[in-house]
């Protein structure tokens, strides 16, 4: 189940970005979202892609990218799909790691997130590769 969902994510990304298979870094240890093959995906967990704003903001837990969040919203990083070498390392060093909370401060004129006590401006493209579980306000 988990594997098939990840496959879906990968397929969507490949179709969208026209890039080689991205490497997926997963969140391993959080409760409720376990990577082991035996456990299934939590009930009600849906996948959303960019543009699908309405459903991304329903109360139930969903996966979306930072790009799909609204300014002022908070989420927890689930996994990151970097499209370039070194980017993941870079984000990790800034504290953007699976399991950590991420706040979207603003989307315009540049996208700015807060992680721990660091505020970071990010390219939209990079933000689109950071997937979170939406927690709302």
């Amino acid at each position: 189940m988990t594997a098939s969902l990840l496959n879906r994510i990968v397929k969507i990304l490949v179709a969208r970005k026209d890039k080689p298979l991205p490497e997926v870094l997963e969140y391993r240890e959080s409760a409720g979202f376990n990577n082991s093959q035996t456990e299934s995906f939590p009930e009600g967990l849906k996948l959303h892609q960019n543009g699908n704003k309405e459903s991304a903001h329903k109360k139930e837990p969903v996966i979306c990218s930072v790009l799909d969040m609204r300014a002022g919203e908070k989420g927890r990083v689930l996994f990151i799909t970097p499209h370039q070498n070194g980017r993941l390392e870079r984000l990790t060093a800034l504290g953007i790691v699976p399991g950590n909370a991420i706040y979207l401060l603003q989307k315009q004129p540049s996208l700015v997130v807060r992680v721990d006590h660091t505020e970071i401006a990010l390219d939209r493209e990079i933000a689109g590769g950071i997937f979170i579980r939406n927690k709302g306000e």
């Binding site: 060093a93 399991g99 603003q106 540049s110 721990d116 401006a121 990010l122 390219d123």
Partner: protein
């Protein structure tokens, strides 16, 4: 082999490393008494600074480095710091950290600890951490990572004495992170092949296993090919076990460990974090509020530097102090000298005192001084990275991103320094574009001040035309360059520091250091330029050059012949050239259109000899000369076009 070189190698070294904008340079100053520029934005330090000090009666060299986020460097400034860690034999590493960001701190600490060198963690900015309700159990943290941890508030000198006491007794990390058993056994297999080094075998083994380039080339030089083959085999065998690159496997284990540590040592009392500074900081990068705030900032800079500094103060100093008191005094004093040539050399039309010193001290220094003060305040508040956010979209049109704002804005201080700061940009393409734009269209403080002073005496319209022409060229060239120059643009990942109230003491020291630097760097060039003009004038070269340039300067630009001199010294320093126009205008030899046209040309000119040298150093001779070949003709071309347009429509200024 001399006594001295052996002495040098014996001297112990302390290297300060850490994330960007955590206060390494402040601590460096407190350990050595030596000032290096301190500001509130990441990337202030792009070069390594060396200093000396004594700790516990022992001599130490202290090294300040550019900030690094992790051990795999992405930009050139990060590379500098990391290479220094791997290459030099350090006695002690002090990791300076922002206590608010313990997760990022430990990410680096765990990697530094693996090097097996004595390590101290200076947990800096404790005041802000406490203000945010973050509590860290320092002793427990120290136990868990096996490293001495010292809380500090460097700007208030708190904890610094404890730090200096501990430096001579610093210990190697007493524990290290244990990885997955496969990785551990690969490390064990690798270690016997490794050469002696100041880094621990475990540290070298890990760098080798993740495929670190530096370690690869180091081992290639140090061990025999068959041994290297065996190491290769160990590494590729390990790789096969994992779906992901080994570096990522290590990352995940480190992160897991960090989470464990954090949960044990950090407690947060959630406080309403909206302080006034935080709110203002948010507003400064707000899509709506950010724009008027930017306008206000620009207006204040213009008022202080352009109107007050370049207008009022220059008027007082140049016309008052120099024009009425000093110069008449010197002219009188030297008129008693028997040799007319010497009198002329000192106080004549191109006299050392009446031109060189007057330009440098009376026209440019007040302007530069006020600019340095205002700019220093801006730097220390943390406004600049927020500016980057506001203009990011515009910069994208030039194929750059907001990160390039930092060197460009620094260019308004000094293009030479700013060209060095292009190191914070990750891609070569970005560095080339920014270097070109700095040299072409970003006037430095000295020139900007003189220019604004001159324009302010005309009209707001004149200022807008000048600004429009320069910005227009900036974007046009940026736009074209981003399409012509091959390569990839950098990612935009920029840390936004908290907005802080500038410390008066730092502003004073920084301004003083910069003025001292200006006097050392620029004043000799003014003197040299004056001597050059004097000699040219005496041998008749000046009138010859004026004749040669006359079709361009007089014919196409409608400027007086003397303008050639200003362009000539403009090759040495743009502000010197601008000061030349300043004087011409005072003498009534330039009409308003002439002022605007000449200022546009001189703004687009090569900044100065010093900047040219730095361009060559950073970008190579070929690239630098290509830029000059674009810039100089372009500057005149734009001037001619502007002159034609303004005169054709008889724009009133």
């Amino acid at each position: 082999m001399s006594e001295q070189t052996r002495e040098k190698t014996k001297e112990k070294r302390v290297i300060l490393v850490g994330n960007p904008n955590v206060g390494k340079s402040v601590i460096f100053k407190q350990l050595t008494g030596q000032y290096v520029t301190v500001s509130n934005y990441p990337g202030t330090t792009v070069e390594v600074a060396w200093g000396k000090s004594r700790f516990g009666g022992e001599k130490f060299q202290v090294i300040d480095t550019p900030g690094i986020n992790s051990f795999s460097p992405l930009s050139e400034d990060e590379k500098v710091a990391r290479d220094l860690l791997l290459k030099e034999n350090h006695s002690v590493i002090i990791q300076v950290a922002d206590a608010k960001n313990l997760r990022r701190t430990l990410w680096l600490t765990l990697q530094l600890a693996e090097l097996g060198l004595p390590l101290i963690l200076a947990l800096n900015i404790m005041d802000e951490a406490q203000a945010q309700g973050i509590e860290i159990e320092v002793e427990k943290l120290s136990q868990l990572i096996g490293v001495e941890v010292i809380p500090t508030i460097a700007t208030q000198k708190k904890g610094i004495s404890t730090l200096t006491e501990k430096i001579p007794y610093s210990q190697k990390p007493s524990s290290h992170l244990k990885y997955d058993s496969r990785i551990e056994s690969a490390i064990e297999q690798t270690v016997p092949f490794l050469p002696e080094n100041h880094i621990s075998p475990r540290g070298m083994a890990l760098l080798w296993l993740v495929g670190d380039e530096k370690m690869g080339t180091f081992l290639e030089e140090q061990i025999s090919p068959p041994e290297l083959n065996k190491l290769e085999a160990i590494r590729s065998q390990l790789k096969e076990h994992y779906l992901e690159p080994i570096s990522r496997v290590l990352s995940q284990e480190r992160m897991a460990q960090i989470e464990k540590i954090l949960s044990q040592v950090v407690s947060k009392k959630e406080k309403p974090e909206s302080s006034n500074a935080a709110r203002l900081g948010r507003m400064a990068m707000h899509p709506v509020w950010g724009v008027p705030i930017l306008g206000l900032v620009l207006y204040i800079v213009y008022q202080v530097v352009g109107v007050f500094g370049a207008g009022t103060v220059v008027d007082l100093v140049e016309n008052g102090l120099f024009g009425k008191i000093l110069n008449p005094f010197f002219i009188k004093l030297f008129s008693y000298l028997p040799i007319p040539l010497v009198v002329d050399f000192l106080v004549g039309e191109y006299g050392l005192i009446t031109m060189g010193v007057t330009y440098a001290l009376a026209i440019v220094l007040p302007v530069v001084g006020f600019f340095f003060i205002v700019f220093g305040i801006l730097e220390d508040t943390g406004y600049l990275p927020r500016l980057a956010i506001i203009v990011d979209k515009i910069f994208r049109l030039m194929g750059l991103n907001g990160k390039a704002v930092l060197p460009m804005v620094l260019g308004l201080g000094c293009d030479t320094m700013a060209t060095l700061t292009t190191r914070i940009l990750e891609s070569k393409k970005d560095r080339i574009i920014v270097t070109l734009l700095l040299a072409l269209a970003v006037p430095c403080s000295a020139q900007l001040g003189v220019t604004l002073g001159l324009l302010a005496s005309l009209s707001a319209q004149a200022t807008l035309i000048w600004l429009g022409a320069v910005l227009g060229i900036l974007f046009l060239v940026g736009f074209l360059a981003s399409r012509i120059i091959p390569g990839r643009k950098s990612d935009f990942i920029l840390e936004i520091p908290p907005l802080r109230v500038p410390r008066l003491s730092n502003i004073i020291i920084k301004t003083a250091a910069r003025i001292e630097w200006y006097l050392k760097e620029a004043a000799p060039i003014f003197i040299f330029g004056t001597v050059l003009l004097f000699i040219l004038d005496k041998v008749g070269g000046l009138s010859l050059l004026e004749k040669i340039a006359s079709p361009l300067v007089v014919g196409l630009l409608n400027l007086p012949q003397e303008a050639t001199q200003a362009f000539l010294v403009g090759f040495l320093r743009r502000d010197y050239g601008a000061a030349g126009f300043f004087v011409l205008s005072q003498q009534g030899k330039l009409d308003p259109i002439g002022v605007v046209v000449s200022l546009v040309v001189i703004t687009l000119f090569i900044p100065c000899i010093a900047n040219l040298f730095v361009m060559i150093k950073e970008r190579g001779v070929k690239t630098a000369l290509a830029m000059v070949a674009v810039i100089v003709p372009l500057a005149f071309l734009v001037g001619v076009a502007l002159n034609f347009v303004l005169r054709y429509w008889q724009v009133a200024l």
